[in-house]
């Protein structure tokens, strides 16, 4: 009886193994799902960071979307122009010019520059602080608790002197910070050159009111528009037309930045040449 039990136990396991292997093997063939070879090829080329900068869940989703739904090819900011060119080759289409998008913080107010700051003892996030009145006089500027730094997976944002500052050596341009900022002062900007000029202020109030809340806010003096044709004034705020931005304007832009009385126009970035 003893040996029969052992034999039966062994037999049960072997039989189960054989039956289950057979079923799974059959299922593997019967339920086989064709995966497009293009999807696999594109998946290999994509950086695999799964950052979500392309508005898809991950690189795999984006690869499928390119093949199945004709999603735009240049959406991967991490892979950059090289990546787009390879994908275009696989898909057999022309790649449009691909410019890396990087976040730019439209505020230049360090702690000493901000006026009307009151003590705040609530939850230490920008989202919470932004809802409390009279903590910071400027209702457009950076709050400095680093919601953006919190969502950055690449450690590229530091809070320096109460102002979020981007480390362009580390940034890959996934755009998570732009989505996280409760005041929407981070925009994804095309870096057509290694360094670009940007208006580091988001205050849409009139000059006098800006003067009362910040030492470095845009007061709509229009000095910049006189020196460079890229500048225009929208909602009491100087803006740069990045569609026509190129190296030829560099001198004009430098001049405009020099002439700005509040030094709002700053030169940002120093991209690595990873791509």
């Amino acid at each position: 009886m003893y040996f029969i039990t052992i034999g039966l136990a062994g037999g049960t396991l072997v039989t189960m193994a054989v039956i289950l292997t057979y079923i799974l093997g059959w299922a593997n063939k019967a339920f086989h799902v064709e995966v497009d070879t293009k999807v696999i090829a594109i998946n290999d080329i994509l950086p695999g960071a799964n950052c979500g900068g392309c508005d898809y869940v991950g690189c795999g989703e984006y690869a499928e979307a390119i093949v199945a739904d004709n999603a735009p090819i240049g959406k991967c900011t991490v892979g950059g122009a090289n990546c787009a060119a390879f994908i275009a080759e696989i898909m057999g289409v022309e790649a449009a010019d691909m410019v890396p998008l990087r976040p730019v913080i439209h505020c230049n107010g360090h702690y000493a520059d901000k006026l009307g700051i009151n003590e705040y003892r609530g939850e230490k996030t920008c989202t919470a602080m932004g809802r409390v009145a009279n903590v910071q006089a400027c209702v457009y500027g950076c709050l400095g608790f680093g919601d953006c730094a919190g969502v950055c997976k690449y450690d590229a944002i530091n809070i320096i002197n109460n102002l979020a500052t981007i480390d362009y050596q580390k940034c890959i341009g996934c755009g998570a910070c732009a989505k996280a900022c409760p005041r929407n002062i981070i925009t994804m900007t095309p870096f057509k050159t290694e360094k670009i000029f940007a208006v580091a202020c988001s205050n849409k109030d009139k000059g006098k009111e800006v003067m009362s809340v910040c030492k470095v806010g845009c007061i709509t003096c229009k000095a910049c528009t006189r020196h460079c044709s890229l500048f225009s004034i929208n909602n009491n705020l100087s803006t740069i037309n990045y569609d026509e931005y190129n190296l030829d304007f560099m001198d004009d832009l430098t001049k405009a930045a020099d002439k700005c009385p509040k030094k709002v126009i700053v030169c940002q970035g120093n991209l690595t040449k990873k791509n």
């Binding site: 009886m1 039966l8 049960t12 299922a27 339920f31 799902v33 989202t127």
Partner: protein, 252 residues
Amino acid sequence: MNYIADIFLIAISATLINNFVLYYFVGICPFIGVSKNVSMAVGMGCAVTFVMTIAAFLSWTITKFILIPGAPVSSFIAGIFLPAEQAAHIDLTILSYIVYIFAISSSVQFVEMYVRKFFPALYKSFGVFLPLITTNCAILFACLTIMSHVAGVDNPADAWDLAKSLILAIFGGVGFTIAIVIMAGIREELDFCDIPKAFQGAAITLIVAGILAMAFMGFTGVDSGLGNMIKTSDTTAVNAIPVETNHQQIKV
């Protein structure tokens, strides 16, 4: 009536009172790992419930027909070599762990392939969770609980049938879903809290889980109370069964 009351009590017990996660502390890895936001927690809960039900069906079938002493398949094969009364005592329950793991992992694989082929949308929403729970201890725990109620009972009439096993699995899964969704909700709020540095991350999560488990201890005894209520309201035949022993039996 007594049978329906039993099933009702098994369901309540598995969901709230003897919650798999908060009472027995099985399935802690997904409970901590996938409870960062509510939508993912719901996905994980559904996947666990789904797999647990399938696993319960398989484990009940295997236990009933192969493993327990006197099971039809094993005693028939042993009967070829042995006299009938010896063949009826062949006990293969020692194989339970390995057989259940076999059955669970291969059925999950099978279900994954099937869902991928015929329900691509469902496959996408389950995502990585389905293969993740292949070796989840909560599933194995459900199987072993069912085994203890099929093989470990003195009186064969007390042994659970398939319906009770499935009810245990489904509502065990529902209990898991409730626990993980509550946990995810709390953790979403925790992001806004000013937590001391030493407690941040895993530490505060475990503390919250402990407090949650203590809160669920408040349900203890609800099953025996409910059992009393349901069974005394029933007529004479049911009253003959002492409530205490019923409670023992129902306690998962």
